[in-house]
């Protein structure tokens, strides 16, 4: 029983990191219609930056904050490349983000080499109802929960957040009232970078990060985002937590080397179900 609880809590922590990646995907897709394949890169950039900054002797807190901001800048640059030119279709922009992710590999290898890097997180562990859980896992869960609360407040309460929702809801009407939809798209990309960066900073102490870790991150994040139909943040969060728990259980009960396959399998199932559901809806409406 205590093993189960351990896996569950660890799984939730893994799911939280996935949720942060996925919510970045959703934020960008809602506002711009673009599926951002460079989303995992933002986490990698932040993870590698933290590792370097801590290595250079900068204190905790400052290092992580700077790394997250670096990821937000990476998000903005990706956005400029993807949607900076007026009239770029979402499909072309998707391919640009794929290209940006590959370009990032080259930059990351030049700056950090190709070996995995780690960063010290919160040391130690605590016992919850008989189950041992690493303190860093609790930090991941706490920070993610706080981030989601802040996101909900930003989109639900602030004028800027509502303007972003307006762009997602009806881009033409947003232009009618004078909102610059392209600028809002860039803001969404920066926000996506920020969220990916938070994930990267939280995950790096748990599993070392290298330039190509983005593949694992994006596959997991994409599975959760597709679960939420790329538009619904709450469903995405639930999907991410389920995915994290499922993967950790699979690993814990003896299929450790098949974590990614579990994610891929679940993603395929979700995508096939979602795709058939969507076509059923569009058939009904005609």
């Amino acid at each position: 029983m205590s093993a189960f609880l351990t896996y569950l809590l660890n799984g939730l922590a893994v799911g939280c990191a996935i949720a942060l990646i996925a919510s970045g995907l959703v934020a960008i897709h809602r506002v711009t219609g673009v599926v951002n394949f460079a989303q995992g890169t933002f986490a990698v950039v932040a993870g590698l930056c933290t590792s370097s900054l801590l290595g250079l002797g900068f204190p905790h807190g400052l290092s992580e904050l700077a790394a997250v901001l670096a990821a937000a800048v990476a998000g903005l640059l990706t956005g400029l490349a993807a949607i900076g030119r007026r009239g770029t279709t979402p499909l072309s922009a998707l391919i640009v983000t794929l290209g940006a992710g590959v370009l990032a590999y080259a930059v990351e290898i030049v700056l950090w080499g190709d070996q995995p890097r780690s960063a010290p997180g919160l040391a130690g562990s605590v016992t919850v109802a008989g189950a041992r859980i690493q303190t860093q896992h609790l930090l991941v869960i706490g920070v993610t929960a706080a981030t989601f609360v802040l996101l909900a407040l930003f989109f639900g309460r602030t004028y800027l957040g509502k303007a972003l929702t307006a762009c997602a809801s009806n881009p033409y009407a947003a232009r009618v009232v004078g909102i610059d939809v392209r600028k809002m798209g860039l803001l969404a990309f920066a926000l996506g970078g920020l969220l990916g960066g938070i994930a990267g900073v939280l995950v790096t102490p748990l599993r070392p990060i290298s330039f190509d870790t983005d593949v694992t991150l994006i596959v997991n994040g994409f599975a959760a985002a597709v679960f939420g139909a790329l538009t619904r943040p709450v469903i995405t969060l639930i999907g991410a937590l389920l995915l994290g728990v499922a993967e950790t259980m699979a690993a814990g009960y003896g299929y450790g080397s098949h974590q990614l396959e579990v994610a891929l399998g679940l993603m395929l199932v979700v995508m096939i179900v979602q795709a058939s559901r969507r076509s059923a809806i569009s058939l009904e409406s005609t």
Partner: protein, 219 residues
Amino acid sequence: MIDVKDLVVSYGTATALEHVTLTVRRGEMVALLGPNGAGKSTLANTLAGLLKPSSGTVHADGRVALIPEGRQLFPDLTVADNLALGGWRSGQRDPALVYDLLPRLAELAGRRAGVLSGGEQQMVAFGRAMMSRPDVLVVDELSLGLAPTVTADLAAHLAALNAEQGLTVLLIEQNARLAFELCRRAYVLESGRLVTEGECAVLADDPRVASAYLGGAIT
């Protein structure tokens, strides 16, 4: 005022407006009639700055607001949020500004815009446009799909704003009866060209206009 001179607007190789010249004086309310596909909405979007002229000029004094065809609200947001976003240009975020004008909107403030009736949605679109404190209002199809009593109510508000606050209005309509009731002057647009213009009283007696837009002469 609105001053459109020799305006040409094209989408790729297709030309939507060909050499259109039109004037609405300050404080005037003028109608623009025409069938579907005549280019009326293209003109509305160009006046609102959403489309660029291929040639010719568009000039409007002060701030222009557009009530677009089909209301075009933000369905996921509340009425109050829809109104607040209408103030994006003016920086006016407090919907109380239009609650005085359209008290019904205060009652609907917390409802999601997507669930309202067509008439209520048009009222929100009206209020949202007024939130930008416009000098010029372009109304694209006020009456489309609405019950006559609802249209009459909105038309009365529009007439009052025009008469009391000197709001300059270009009223784009397929409903010529409504347009002729509200406006003294009208233009008629067909296939991207202005085919006739003049006093509404005169146009109503023009057999071509009467048969195309009024279903026979006004009696």
